[in-house]
Symmetry: none
Subunit: 188 residues, 2 copies
DNA sequence: TGAAATCGTTCCGTAAACGGAACGATCGTG
DNA sequence: CACGATCGTTCCGTTTACGGAACGATTTCA
């Protein structure tokens, strides 16, 4: 990749690898032996001068008994590469759409900003929403009777009335929202 | 590593890649273009005949806007989160993986075949599952006390005990499953 | 104090991952 | 029915990741 001949790769991986290795008191040679890879490979990796193969990454992560993402740090979330829709308090990214015989399902990832409360108008009758919190604490549901859910908890409600989303605890919250819209006249 | 000359790599990655690509309605050529890699690379990857470099994986995961772990399924995942490939009765597709400070979330689409009942062994303590039915009727939850949900309904349960999946009514059922695996020891 | 062991780095030949190009197949279109 | 566009696969030359070996520097031990 480097047009200068000396191809470099993400040095952060090298730092993380060396950190994990030393935290375990392993020598570079010993790690290479356990992972079944060459010392040159480990050395080059720690210096960020190699662009490792998935196989190599598996072997090394396995020898350290960490998930591979502990080394790659997995840039993580969809990076908004999709098209985030901006409301006042809720930023959402559409993840998937499923069209079924009786209904359409939209799955979104929500970022609910702190401090503000967002109200969503009533959907047509029959629409239901299912929300799983994955970070922070969310207060959501029908505007008349919202509920509170922490990370790992789940709330479902009928969305044919106005409903609200808010993050509690002064911190931004994340959640997965599944919206089910039945189409009674079976499409097509 | 393939002493027969024809080196093969994990075919599961290829299947997952093709699934994610097609779910987005992208052609192989288009994905290669967006990721800035050669078509030969994508093709070889989907057929499991290449052992990709990390750089290639980043590029492709980025173009699909999924975390890399959505492709690799990260064998060393925290809490031994077993590969969500179930058995004969349930076919699953990994849709997204979210890595949060306190937990990892995996979202899958399940096809639960008719007639058979699938039992899943207990996950480590703290793992919870959330299932939203999008087609048919599903009987699921702890093996000791499963519940029934029709399309549009939702069931959550603690997955630290054996649990079951079954489609009722003699028809295949579809569902979205969200698995939450807390990683309390903040992986060091 | 010398010899052996082990450390991490570097050199090197081989295997293979890479992108570009060429290929036949499959479309819509005029 | 040609025609161009695009599909996914395959071929090929270049680049480079790979493991083994050689290296000098430290450390360990008799």
């Amino acid at each position: 990749m480097g047009a200068d001949g000396t191809s470099r790769f993400d040095p952060a991986i090298g730092r993380r690898l060396r950190g994990l290795r030393e935290a375990r008191g392993l020598s570079l040679s010993e790690l290479a032996r356990r992972a079944g890879v060459g010392k040159a490979t480990v050395s080059g990796l720690e210096h960020g001068t190699r662009n490792p193969t998935l196989e190599t990454m598996y072997a090394i992560a396995g020898a350290l008994s960490v998930p591979m993402s502990a080394l790659t740090l997995d840039p993580g979330a969809p990076a908004g590469a999709a098209s985030p829709v901006r409301g006042a308090a809720v930023v959402s990214t559409l993840l998937e759409v499923f069209r079924e015989p009786g209904a359409t399902y939209e799955m979104l990832r929500l970022r609910i900003l702190a401090g503000v409360e967002q109200t969503s108008p009533a959907h047509p009758p029959g629409v239901t929403e299912h929300l799983s919190v994955i970070r922070g604490t969310v207060r959501t549901g029908p505007a008349a009777a919202p509920l509170t859910a922490a990370a790992g908890e789940h709330i479902s409600w009928a969305a044919d009335v106005p409903h609200v989303y808010a993050a509690l605890g002064g911190e931004e919250a994340h959640a997965i929202l599944l919206i089910r819209t039945p189409h009674d006249p079976p499409l097509r």
